[in-house]
């Protein structure tokens, strides 16, 4: 994980990462001490009291009350310290400051989509540094989990309710995002990046990332292609992913799973976006989420125009 960081942990990049790491290392070093002590005692006894002859007749050892009380009391105190500390940091991780900048996150098989307050959409998360950011998350299909190791945050993303996490990035850089709740074929491909910008650079990005008013339908379709996460399953260069590639798709003839065939035209594409399970291309699984049913007419037209352009 990067060149910095420690043997155990990637380099932290959020205000709370340091607190989590301190706790991790506190438990770690106590564990190391206990482990070494236990194993040292075991090895010492193993050598010191090894059987010398089959007739060894060891003395009867009686239980020591002092020893027993010690090893009940000391671990109890230690775990209560660890519990209390863990619980305090957990509360900090759980409660976002009221002035946090809010971004909506939608998880679906197998991509993430981020919606910003000004209507901009992206498939990579852009955030400002030194400002608390709260992600309000939901899923359109199965459980997912949103995990940024560098920020030490993780939260399951559910289909029937909102969950949220918050963080405050401390430096401008790019960080890895993983899905950590198993979600099927491309679970391990459900990755994206967090791009933390300096405040001013973030504002600039936010202004420039909207869809320009004078863009052609195909140009708007190109933006939607990444913003909606289409690229997770449909390549542009003919590579076979979970779904058929868009390259040369328009105008071709598909064999369908039921043995019939269909020519790929505007209406077929429209149906396949709005109602993915209506016609399944032979050799592919019926796994496309139905979540695109809410696209506007404009967006559909733009996407179809974009797909039409993808000729080899």
């Amino acid at each position: 994980m990067g060149d910095k960081g420690t043997f155990w942990l990637p380099e932290g990049a959020s205000t709370l990462a340091g607190e989590v790491d301190a706790l991790f290392y506190f438990v770690y070093w106590i564990s190391v001490v206990i482990f070494v002590a236990v194993i040292a005692a075991m090895v010492y006894f193993m050598i010191r009291y090894r059987r010398r002859t089959p007739h060894d007749r060891p003395p009867v050892v009686h239980e020591s009350k002092v020893l027993e009380v010690t090893w009940i009391v000391v671990p109890t105190i230690l775990v209560l310290i660890v519990f209390t500390w863990g619980f305090k940091v957990f509360l900090k991780l759980g409660v976002a400051p009221p002035d946090a900048y809010e971004i909506q996150v939608v998880g679906q098989k197998w991509s993430w989509q981020f919606n910003y307050p000004n209507g901009v959409r992206s498939s990579e998360l852009h955030v400002p540094v030194d400002r608390p950011v709260r992600l309000q998350m939901s899923s359109v299909d199965v459980l997912h989990s949103f995990y940024i190791p560098a920020f030490r945050v993780k939260q399951d993303v559910l289909p029937n309710r909102y969950t949220s996490i918050w963080f405050e990035a401390t430096r401008a850089d790019t960080f890895q995002v993983y899905c950590t709740e198993y979600c099927g074929t491309q679970h391990s491909g459900m990755l994206t990046k967090v791009i933390a910008h300096e405040q001013s650079a973030f504002e600039t990005w936010l202004q420039e990332s909207g869809i320009p008013d004078d863009a052609s339908p195909a140009q708007r379709g190109a933006l939607l292609y990444t913003q909606l996460g289409c690229q997770a399953c449909h390549s542009l260069d003919g590579t076979r992913l979970t779904g058929p590639s868009f390259q040369g798709l328009y105008g071709s003839t598909h064999g369908l799973a039921d043995g019939s065939s269909v020519e790929v035209d505007d209406n077929y594409l429209r149906e396949s976006i709005l109602e993915p399970s209506a016609k399944i291309v032979e050799g592919y699984a019926n796994v496309m989420p139905a979540s695109y049913g809410g696209l506007t007419e404009d967006e559909l037209t733009a996407l179809i125009a974009f797909i039409e352009e993808q000729q080899p």
Binding site: L23, Y49, P54, E63, K88, Y182, S188
Partner: protein
């Protein structure tokens, strides 16, 4: 008790005391020989062996699946299979390991074999129910095999909804398999509880019960109380899938987190079904091979029972980032710590049992020491993932994968191997090759650590679990882990081969090769009589009172140790 009649010639003493001297060929393995005599047997020892063979086959299959998982992860991207195949392989590995191997292995095999003899009984309380449990278990296993045939079970062993309810119908067979196999578990549990209460030999008071029996008693409580919950959960899953009743699936108005509550309400206690019998085995091994009374007998015995009940109150620690309320998470974290302490103290009890003992490093003891090493790591990393704020980072990463393998494999499987070697001479009447045994134990220890310690580092650095593909920065650690899995497999295959060799060519085992003081060694031939004892033993001392049994010190120390104490009234 005719215990003090020893001469300087152990061989002669042995001749005096071996009841088998009079009937050299008559024991439970050879008194009936047809296949039907096995399939219709109500002898707890034979049922134990039938369980042993079945779970060994599942362990082999699930182990090969694990090797395939590790092989696929040798490099990023596709190595030997595609993502869907990978998802199915890791799912089957886990389902078979958990439901068809670890849960039934110790109670079904070693428990069935040793428990009645250890308490001086002729059999379990309900021998026919015992046989029925094996058939039901096999029916469950058959359903699992059908699911493999139908294919495409890729939900992970946790079957989380809504993914599992959207998936293919073969999930139905696997969940049905879990449901059916659960009844076998309940039957075994009921049988053991009644047997322990009602079938103890005269003088076998509760505080003279071997700790293996105490551990199985605690396990049985959990089996009887927890297993119905997984059955109910699976029924709810069927109702949702086939009748469209919305329970867990949000599309039908259900709640997916509810499934996780149900699932872990069973599966966390199930962790204790898996680990408590292992505690019992380790308690036997450290005392026998240290020839020293166990430290904290009462504590170990009663804390197992306490853990069996408290184990029902900590399921929510699997769900800190699931979306359950923060208050629940905090309470579950606290209770988790309270239940962790008695477990930690047991480790200290086992280590201190060696103090001023006579530590004999035979293969079973090597496994017990391995257990202490590995289980301590498993336990301490359990404390780590119980810390709320730290678990947020570690949850669903390889850190968790490593943690539960240290507990389940480093704990239960290592203890099972120790117990397997320990009772092998009693079960088969043959000795295994001690040198090969030690080499294999060391290989397994090394291979295990290489395989799974690397996974702690992978996880804390952010590598999520159940990933078919991974980023290039994780490659080196994944490769080390895969190489470790080969060493581990080599050690395990060695065990398989020398044990098969021992079965046919092994040296004949004496009645008490380890100089143990529990009844299966002191009052019973190797292999035992079909009725275990010629006369019901009368118990006059604790299970680990080595100083009270003069004849235990007579062995030659190379695997044919002390002689058999004759039962009262037994002919010499």
């Amino acid at each position: 008790m005719a215990t003090v009649m020893h001469t300087d010639a152990p061989a002669e003493a042995a001749a005096h005391h071996h009841p088998e001297h009079h009937h050299p060929e008559h024991h439970y393995l050879n008194h009936e020989k047809t296949i039907w005599s096995w399939l219709s047997t109500v002898d707890h020892k034979r049922i134990g062996i039938m369980y042993a063979i079945s779970v060994a086959i599942f362990f082999l299959i699930a182990g090969v699946l694990a090797l395939l998982v590790r092989m696929e992860l040798l490099g990023p991207g596709e190595t030997i299979m595609g993502p869907d195949a990978y998802n199915q392989v890791f799912t089957l590995h886990a389902v078979m390991m958990v439901f068809l191997f670890i849960i039934p292995a110790v109670p079904g095999f070693l428990g069935n074999f040793a428990l009645p003899i250890q308490i001086g009984a002729k059999d379990v309380a309900f021998p026919r129910l015992n046989l029925a449990s094996w058939y039901i278990f096999m029916a469950g296993a058959a359903l699992a095999v059908i699911a493999i045939g139908v294919g495409q079970v890729d939900t992970g062993w946790t079957f989380y909804t809504p993914y599992s309810s959207d998936g293919s119908n073969s999930v139905f067979f696997v969940t049905l398999a879990v449901f059916v196999a659960g009844f076998a578990s309940i039957f075994t549990g009921i049988n053991f509880i009644v047997t322990i209460h009602k079938m103890r030999a005269p003088g076998m008071t509760w505080n003279r019960l071997p700790l293996f029996v105490w551990a199985l008693y605690a396990t049985s409580i959990v089996q009887v109380l927890a297993t119905p919950v997984i059955g109910i959960t699976m029924v709810l899953l069927f109702l949702e899938k086939f009748l469209g009743i919305g329970i867990f699936d949000p599309a039908l108005g259900g709640d997916p987190i509810l499934f996780q509550h149900f699932f872990w309400f069973y599966s966390h206690p199930a962790v204790y079904i898996m680990i408590l019998p292992a505690f019992g085995i380790i308690s036997e091994l450290v005392t026998v091979f240290s020839r020293q009374n166990i430290q904290g007998y009462t504590f170990i015995a009663l804390s197992s029972v306490a853990i069996a009940f408290l184990g029902f109150l900590v399921w929510g620690h699997h769900m800190f980032v699931s979306g359950q309320s923060a208050v629940s998470s905090i309470i579950f974290s606290l209770i988790t710590y309270l239940i962790g302490i008695p477990t930690g103290i047991k480790v200290l009890n086992w280590v201190s049992t060696m103090y001023k003992g006579s530590v004999w490093l035979q293969t079973p003891m090597l496994y017990a020491l391995s257990f202490l090493f590995l289980f301590t790591i498993g336990g301490l990393t359990g404390v780590m993932v119980g810390v709320l704020a730290v678990d947020v980072h570690l949850h669903d990463t390889y850190f968790i994968v490593a943690h539960f393998h240290y507990v389940m494999m480093g704990g239960t499987v290592i203890a099972l191997l120790g117990g397997f070697h320990y009772w092998w001479p009693k079960i088969t009447g043959k000795m295994y090759n001690e040198t090969l045994g030690k080499i294999a134990a060391i290989l397994i220890f090394i291979g295990f650590n290489i395989t799974f310690f690397t996974q702690f580092v992978l996880g804390s650095r952010g590598m999520p679990r159940r990933y078919y593909d991974y980023l290039p920065e994780f490659t080196a650690l994944h490769q080390i882990s895969t190489v470790g899995s080969w060493i581990l497999a080599l050690g395990l295959f060695m065990v398989l081969f020398y044990m098969i060799h021992s079965m046919f060519r092994g040296k004949k085992a004496p009645a008490n090769p380890w100089g143990a003081a529990t009844l299966e060694w002191t009052h019973c031939t190797s292999p035992p009589d079909p009725h275990n004892f010629h006369h019901t033993p009368i118990v006059t001392h604790g299970p680990y009172d080595y100083h009270a049994l003069e004849h235990l010190y007579e062995g030659d120390g190379v695997g044919d140790g002390a002689t058999v104490e004759a039962a009262p009234g037994q002919k010499h």
